[in-house]
């Protein structure tokens, strides 16, 4: 039986085959899955904001710039190797459209940009992404296969 581990908002987790990692109800938040195909070790982060402000971060899993390095470190502790890591991501929607767009309105897009930039600097290739739009997503990483399932309410589901 495949066990499922739930990753909450502004949270991250690492697991190995045959576990599945799930995070539910991504709007402007982005779900980032890192995977080492050889070690069959996967990590999933539910990232809320692009950048931490200042050195005192109460919850590093909340921000792209602090969550991703932490996720990589935790995966290495479980036997993953940095240069073998690949990434898939989904989320970063803009749920509301107001007449007067604010910085927070575009938070989803900013999250995705910050994450892609970090992955590029870390030389982790992005195999697939499903970001933007104005709908919510639930994602599930199968650490046995690396398959990344994206589920929506009105737009069906797909495997990345």
């Amino acid at each position: 039986m495949k066990e499922i581990r739930r990753v909450g908002m502004a949270d991250l987790a690492v697991a190995s085959s045959p576990m599945k990692l799930v995070t539910i109800g991504l709007g402007s938040c982005v779900g980032v899955a890192l995977y080492d195909q050889r070690a069959k070790v996967g990590g999933l982060a539910h990232i809320m904001l692009p950048k931490s402000n200042g050195p005192f971060v109460s919850n590093p899993a909340k921000f792209a710039d602090t969550a991703l390095p932490l996720l990589v470190t935790k995966m290495q502790e479980c036997g993953a190797v940095h240069r073998r890591l690949t990434a898939k991501l989904a989320g970063g929607a803009q749920m509301f459209r107001l007449d007067r767009p604010t910085e927070t309105m575009r938070i989803g897009e900013r999250n995705a940009v910050a994450i892609l930039q970090w992955l590029e600097n870390a030389r982790i290739p992005v195999l697939a992404k499903d970001t933007g739009g104005n709908w919510g997503r639930t994602v599930e990483l199968d650490t046995g296969t690396g398959e990344f399932l994206v589920r929506t309410i009105a737009r069906g589901e797909k495997i990345l």
Partner: protein
């Protein structure tokens, strides 16, 4: 932000919330043409991850109405109804058989936006009476989707400064059925200080 709060601050907001919910019940009764009973609203600080649980879980479908508030103490308000209750509200509003309304069509959406507008206006009237500050709601926007996704916007705004969020939960009773509305007041940075200063309970 959360750390600077005291019981007293929460009590003041509770009182504002009480009177606001009273206004909201009256306005809702007028709109629906039904007697509305209202429970005393619950005002609470919640960890970010527990907010969606409060709404039936992060994948539970909800309708969210978002309003930007122009003021000396600018804020954003999000009013959330679980989807089935939003449909029930529309059934009453349009005098249709139960379960026949669709929140996703044009009429349903604009009607719900109006309900959100009225509820937000009721709270703002109360907040304005207490503080003497002016609050002008802008045109509302709406989303119907997973609770977690609808809440993201509000939580992101709070999340830049805090790991907890302020929630006012109000329970209305209409036609023998509970209608829960969840009301999030999200002050922009420094707006809370302005509000509490005006309420006479400023921070040290």
């Amino acid at each position: 932000m959360g750390q600077e709060w005291s019981e007293m601050h929460l009590d003041v907001l509770k009182e504002v919330g009480n009177i606001g919910a009273g206004n909201a019940a009256t306005a809702l009764a007028d709109l629906l043409g039904q007697q509305i009973n209202m429970q005393v609203p619950a005002v609470m600080w919640l960890p970010l991850d527990e907010v969606a649980t409060r709404l039936g879980g992060p994948e539970n479908p909800v309708a969210g109405i978002l309003l930007d508030i122009d003021s000396q103490a600018p804020a954003t308000i999000l009013v959330v109804f679980p989807l089935e209750q939003a449909c029930f509200l529309l059934d009453i509003l349009f005098d249709r058989p139960q379960g026949s309304s669709n929140v996703m069509d044009e009429i349903g959406m604009s009607a719900l936006k109006e309900v959100g507008n009225i509820l937000a206006g009721s709270y703002l009237t109360s907040l304005s009476a207490f503080t003497g500050l002016t609050f002008v709601p802008m045109v509302p926007a709406m989303a119907v989707d997973m609770a977690g996704a609808v809440l993201d916007y509000v939580l992101a705004e709070f999340g830049q400064v805090a790991d907890q969020v302020l929630l006012i939960e109000t329970e209305f009773l209409a036609l023998g059925r509970d209608i829960y509305s969840y009301f999030f007041l999200v002050p922009k940075p420094d707006a809370l200080k302005a509000i509490f200063a005006a309420l006479g309970v400023g921070f040290e």
